[in-house]
């Protein structure tokens, strides 16, 4: 595959590197520099003929066009929210034909991996064909949250004391000063408060290390597990790129605490998925303005997107931020959506906005199929948008 482009999305920042390519690249002298830059430099030194462009920024800072350039996206991310975001971006390129079948040229493959201690998982995602990240998001166990009354009134474990200091006492004593988990002085404060509290209740086990672990949600990591999962991802990406063998179909679970076990499950995609499915259908009048459409989308029970920006076939119809772009597109709000979409009887738009899941705010993209009421449904030859 000549001139192919692979994107490796990894959470930026310093610390122990997790993706295989990065763990090989890191050397003692590299500590402190941005991972993306170190990795790019190291791999290009080692492998001639390959071009790696590092981007040291948050994944949400890149617009959708940036992601459309790549043939395959490999994920080394550290949170569900980040994976959801990239998944939504990759799936937004997917288009369906009139028989509701995905158009192959719009499928953007992704390979996703994650590890914790001796366990890990890897997925091959072909939007529209295999389940996307959102289709199987129910597989994740709910995050452990201690009930507030336990923390406040009947703490029993060291973790309870730590969380009390972290979630309740900090604000009480620091009035608005945000807690910074990377600041050792802040951690030290939490630790001593937790220790005091534990003492009064007769609870043992509060240590500085545990305090860090609880507050930062530190995931234990071993180089060997990371090597295993990242090699699975790399091999799968290679197979997609070269066609040398069939792909993992489609989810691999790995556990190494007792012997070594891998289990492959073939999950099926959710046809109603909001992210990789054909999209929520909205039937609107041809006179409906863009502003009205945005309001309707906000009220839609399935979309639940607030303050969305709207994109149609690569064009920004309206952008919420930054202010300079908002000003430029503000005039579109009063125009009928039908006109802004070139008077086609139906097509898809993409909405980017914030959703709230499990009390957490995150940015995401949703596809919406628009069908204009009363406009005759001629067979039109729609060009595919850029991407894939």
């Amino acid at each position: 595959m000549v001139d192919g482009k692979i994107l490796i999305a990894c959470f930026s920042g310093q610390g122990i590197l997790s993706a295989k390519i990065l763990s090989q690249g890191k050397r003692m002298q590299d500590v402190g520099k941005p991972k993306a830059e170190v990795a790019a430099k190291r791999v290009m030194e080692r492998v001639s003929g390959v071009n790696i462009v590092p981007h040291f920024c948050r994944i949400e800072e890149k617009d959708i066009d940036f992601y459309s350039e790549f043939n395959i996206i490999a994920l080394g991310l550290d949170s569900i929210e980040a994976r959801s975001y990239i998944n939504a971006v990759a799936c937004s390129f997917l288009e369906y034909d009139s028989d509701d079948k995905p158009r192959p040229e719009t499928i953007k493959p992704m390979v996703d991996g994650g590890t914790e201690g001796f366990s890990g998982q890897a997925k091959v995602i072909l939007p529209g064909v295999t389940p996307c990240f959102e289709c199987t998001i129910y597989l994740f166990p709910p995050q452990v949250k201690f009930p507030l009354c336990t923390l406040a009134e009947t703490p029993r474990s060291a973790a309870h004391c730590i969380e009390y200091a972290h979630l309740i006492q900090w604000d009480q004593e620091h009035h608005g000063k945000p807690f910074d988990e990377d600041n050792p002085e802040h951690i030290q404060w939490i630790y001593s408060q937790a220790l005091e509290r534990a003492d009064t209740f007769g609870i043992t086990g509060v240590t500085y290390s545990l305090t860090q672990g609880v507050v930062k949600n530190i995931v234990p990591a071993i180089a060997s597990t990371n090597a295993i999962i990242s090699s699975v991802c790399a091999l799968e990406a290679l197979k997609i790129a070269t066609g040398c063998s069939k792909s993992l179909s489609n989810y691999l679970a790995y556990n190494g605490t007792e012997g070594v076990h891998t289990g492959v499950t073939e999950f099926t995609k959710n046809d109603d998925c909001l992210v990789c499915g054909p999209g929520v259908l909205m039937e609107i009048d041809s006179c409906t303005t863009l502003q009205k459409f945005i309001d309707l989308a906000g009220e839609h029970p399935r979309l639940k997107l607030s303050r969305p920006s709207v994109m149609y076939r690569g064009n920004n119809l309206y952008i919420q931020a930054p202010p300079v772009l908002e000003e430029m597109t503000r005039s579109n709000l009063q125009l009928p959506l039908f006109e802004l979409m070139g008077k086609v009887p139906k097509d898809s738009v993409h909405l980017s906005g914030t959703v709230i899941t499990n009390d957490k705010k995150s940015t995401t993209t949703r596809k919406v199929r628009i069908s204009f009421k009363g406009i005759s449904d001629e067979v039109t030859d729609m060009d595919t948008a850029g991407g894939g």
């Binding site: 090989q24 995931v219 090597a227 007792e258």
Partner: protein, 496 residues
């Protein structure tokens, strides 16, 4: 542990603790052949902070190596591959000592078998069968640990070989708490007697720990049923219904927890069959050259037959549960006290046994005995067949010889030869040889004994992980040969 190491190894310290990390830092590992599979294995161990590594490889770096071995680069061409890999490893972690011997492993095996006795663990990659047999014999004589790893196209294999590996800290992911609700000891009963579960105060009522509730109700049941606990399904249902009836409001989490845990009341008594095998093993009949592990097992056996009344020492910890803090803390103390008492009983037996077999009675430290008692239900003994025994079947030697031969031949010829051998081998083992897919055979030949980097990284990841388990003596290593198929990413553990 030095502060800088604590933060450098923080993520993995949370898995195997300081003791595990120290064991790693004392380990001396020898790698045979530093192609991609070997290099990837060693890379993970070096990142983990292993004490020192020795690389044995006779080849020079060639252009082909640049395509699949990350630990060599353009400047290395023509130089000793072992030397280049060592240089790179030192850059990854300057705390690890890395040395090399530029000699093919097979030659070193012939020339100086005693070379291998200095290492904690030997990792042999991409070695043909006859060298492996020789190496295995040498390792067994020296009581060493051998890990065999092999990548072959899109497939791979990892096999551990040593006489015996005993694990105290197996750290299983899921393991039931040791609550003994079906057999409360006198102090627990006394503690429970101090509670009135029919108390009217709703705050106290919903904050009585479920352990107390269940022990009380179990005792009541025994009283009314001739000293027997609920056995049949109807009885168990009756017990749980009775339990639910005691709730005075819907938000009583302690009663919900009690209901979920009620099966503990009729849990089977005594020790598992798997633990029974261990304590009845002939190695438990100890003598002066028995290992500490078996001396402890011998003491455990005596404990179970005497003070334990059929049970192992109490583990001592309890899970979190809805409760007032002071009830919970006091309950914890009751469990900890019993665990301590059991451990002291075991210790006294350990000291006596040591004296009887002619060893210093204090030679096993108190901390080790305590740790052993805590983990009594989770002990594992892993024994491995020698390679010689495994390869004894006549047809298989031919197959192995074939796979070890890396000279390029015409594909078609290879396919039919491989098929004949494979089918014959399968039939000998009692499988249906005709079911072997032609495609699979062709694929194996197409691989041409290549070492693809991603597959080497996978195999290296597994091999290094197993090495860590064997060195730290924590978690349970592979007890069978691990075979991996990168075509569909499936794997199997086969006892060959």
């Amino acid at each position: 542990m030095a502060e800088i190491n604590k933060s450098k190894y923080d993520r993995q310290l949370r898995i195997w603790g300081e003791q595990g990390q120290s064991a790693l830092e004392r380990a001396r590992v020898c790698l045979l052949n530093c192609g991609p599979t070997g290099s990837e294995t060693l890379k993970n161990l070096v990142l983990g902070g292993v004490g020192s590594v020795m690389v044995v490889d006779g080849s020079k770096v060639e252009v082909a190596d640049l395509g699949n071995n990350f630990l060599v680069d353009n400047n290395s061409i023509g130089q000793s591959r072992a030397k280049c890999v060592c240089t790179f490893l030192r850059e990854l972690n300057d705390a690890v000592g890395a040395k090399f011997v530029e000699e093919p492993p097979e030659a070193l095996l012939e020339r100086d078998p005693s070379f291998f006795s200095q290492f904690t663990l030997i990792i042999a990659t991409q070695l043909p069968e006859n060298a492996l047999l020789k190496l295995d014999r040498i390792c067994r004589q020296q009581n060493g640990i051998l890990i065999i790893a092999r990548s072959y196209g899109l497939t791979g294999l990892v096999r551990i070989s040593l006489k015996e590996h005993d694990v105290v800290e197996s750290k299983p992911v899921h393991f039931a708490s040791d609550l003994r609700l079906h057999k409360p000891w006198p102090e627990l009963k006394r503690f429970v007697d101090g509670f009135n579960i029919h108390i009217e105060d709703p705050v106290i009522h919903k904050n009585i720990p479920y352990v107390v509730i269940l022990v009380k109700l179990a005792e009541e049941w025994k009283h009314m049923h001739n000293g027997l606990l609920p056995v049949k399904r109807e009885e168990q249902k009756q017990f749980t219904d009775n339990l639910i009836n005691k709730m005075i409001s819907l938000d009583e989490d302690n009663y919900k927890e009690a209901r979920k845990a009620s099966f503990e009341v009729w849990a089977s008594s005594g020790i598992s069959s798997h633990l029974r095998c261990i304590i009845n093993d002939s190695s438990a009949e100890v003598s002066s050259n028995s290992s500490d592990f078996w001396v402890l097992v011998a003491a455990l056996k005596e404990f179970v037959a005497n003070e334990g009344e059929g049970e192992v020492p109490l583990e001592g910890s309890i899970p979190d549960m809805t409760s007032l803090t002071e009830y919970y803390v006091d309950l914890q103390k009751v469990y900890q006290a019993k665990a301590e008492a059991d451990s002291i009983a075991v210790e006294s037996r350990v000291r006596t046994i040591l004296k009887n077999i002619g060893r210093d009675p204090d030679s096993i430290p108190n901390a080790a005995i305590k740790n052993f008692c805590k983990n009594a239900k989770k002990l594992r003994v892993c024994r491995y067949r020698s390679l010689e025994d495994e390869f004894k079947a006549p047809v298989s030697t031919e197959l192995q010889k074939y796979l070890g031969d890396e000279n390029y031949r015409e594909m078609d010829e290879d396919v039919s030869r491989l098929k004949t051998i494979a089918v014959g081998l399968l039939n000998d083992m009692g499988c249906n040889g005709a079911k072997l897919s032609e495609d699979l055979i062709s694929e194996m030949c197409r691989f041409g004994a290549s070492e693809i980097h991603s597959v080497a990284a996978f195999v290296g990841g597994v091999a290094s992980q197993e090495a860590i388990k064997l060195i730290t003596k924590q978690f349970v290593p592979l007890t069978a040969t691990f075979v991996f198929n990168g075509i569909d990413h499936k794997s199997q553990q086969l006892r060959l």
